[in-house]
Amino acid sequence: MDEKKAAILGEIPRLRRYARSLLRDRDSADDLVQDCLERALVRLDNWQTGESPRRWLFTIMHHLFIDQMRKVNRRGEAAMLPLEANEAQAAPAEQVESIASREIIDALQAISPDRRAALVMVAIEGFSYAEAANILGVPAGTLMSRIARGRDELRGLLDDAARRRTIRIVEK
């Protein structure tokens, strides 16, 4: 196996994690990774040796994700998923999530895809602002405001969820 393919193989776990944070559902996330890998292999020549395979692959996958979200948005209004609706969704059986994890994953799905991607890129995937802005194809200022708003929105949703939980307990 050549070096390039070995390097790509090594990035799959990170790609899967990013996809999972974008789409939540495990199979859908792996489908996104599959599309990304297929596209990457067709364009193997576009990847300059020496360049980080991680940045290259994340860029490809992000484009796939955003393209599809835009198509969806043209049909509907927004891709925001209200927390209530999300709670009704069954988590994949094989996925063991603690209540805290489940709550934050639900909240993450409820913020706008652009903010979600920016936040995840930096907070989970550990890219620098410069790297993340490059991958997402936006100016650094835009990236920063997406991160700030994303964090704020996420915290608001978690506060709401906690409040609802308290109310439920009180009602009992």
Binding site: K5, D27, D30, D31, R75, A79, A123
Partner: protein, 263 residues
């Protein structure tokens, strides 16, 4: 230490390791002097840790063979005809937001994992397709020429607001529809045909009480069904088309049906 005052923006920068090292001390002092900002920073730190923890397990999961095979497989990389099965999840999420009736569709590529309700729906839909799509003169009860009546009639019988999807972009014209039994309830079947006489059918029932879930059903050497179940309705698209084409048709039909249900 004569730096301009810090702001909330710096909380994010500090958290993300983007604050210049020589400003760190002044920033910490500012945080100490502003309890509200300090509390905010602490909440963000906790959220970040929770986020990382929530997804940490993914890195330890074994890489699915189908993904590995793409990279190390012998087959030459084919021109990317995108699978985009995950599109359904994204589309369903968007539909859910606008209509409140949408479904959450897990990958539609999990043969053999279907529950009984899904099997039932797919089998009914495939059985109906096998019988009626082969009929030349009696394929439908109400022809497409009477489309308004067809939609009203089937909507009333099935108990869902049905709008026959326009599949002209995929090359299919509505032939008509009929009412069918579906378990203890009723189902609407809409038949479509392309200019080569290839037929596909849409099967919609209001019977499903299943939680939002979706998958892909198939029969050996027979027509295949792409189907969805949600609270209050089940829907299948059946045909003997190549899978990519059937998926494209199903995608279009699904979004139009959902939009119709929500209208």
């Amino acid at each position: 230490m004569t730096r301009h005052d810090f702001s909330e923006r710096d909380i994010h920068m500090a958290l993300d390791g983007e604050l210049p090292v020589d400003e760190r001390v002044a920033y910490d002092a500012w945080l100490e002097a502003n309890p509200e900002m300090k509390a905010r920073s602490a909440r963000y730190v906790a959220d970040r840790e929770a986020l990382r923890a929530a997804f940490a397990g993914v890195l330890d999961e074994p890489v699915p063979a189908r993904l590995q095979k793409i990279v190390v497989g012998d087959a030459p990389a084919k021109m990317a005809a995108l699978n985009s099965r995950w599109w359904f999840a994204a589309a369903a999420a968007a539909m859910l937001a606008i209509g409140g009736v949408g479904g959450y569709v897990a990958g539609i590529d999990r043969l053999g994992l279907e529950g009984p309700a899904e099997n039932q729906l797919a089998e009914q839909a495939i059985a109906a397709h096998v019988i009626y799509a082969a009929e030349q003169r009696h394929a439908v009860e109400v022809p497409a020429s009477d489309k308004d009546h067809l939609q009203t009639w089937l909507s009333n019988k099935v108990g869902l607001k049905l709008v026959a999807p326009d599949l002209a972009a995929q090359g299919f014209q509505l032939v008509g529809g009929r009412l069918l039994p579906a378990g203890e309830s009723k189902a609407a079947m809409l038949l479509y045909e392309d200019d080569k006489g290839e037929r596909i059918s849409l099967f919609v029932t209001a019977e499903s009480a299943e939680k939002a879930k979706g998958t892909y059903g198939s029969e050996e050497n027979g027509p295949e069904a792409v189907y969805w179940l949600d609270k209050g309705y089940g829907c299948a698209v059946v045909g003997s088309l190549p899978r990519a084409q059937l998926t494209a048709v199903a995608k279009s039909a699904y979004s139009q049906l959902l939009a119709g249900l929500a209208s």
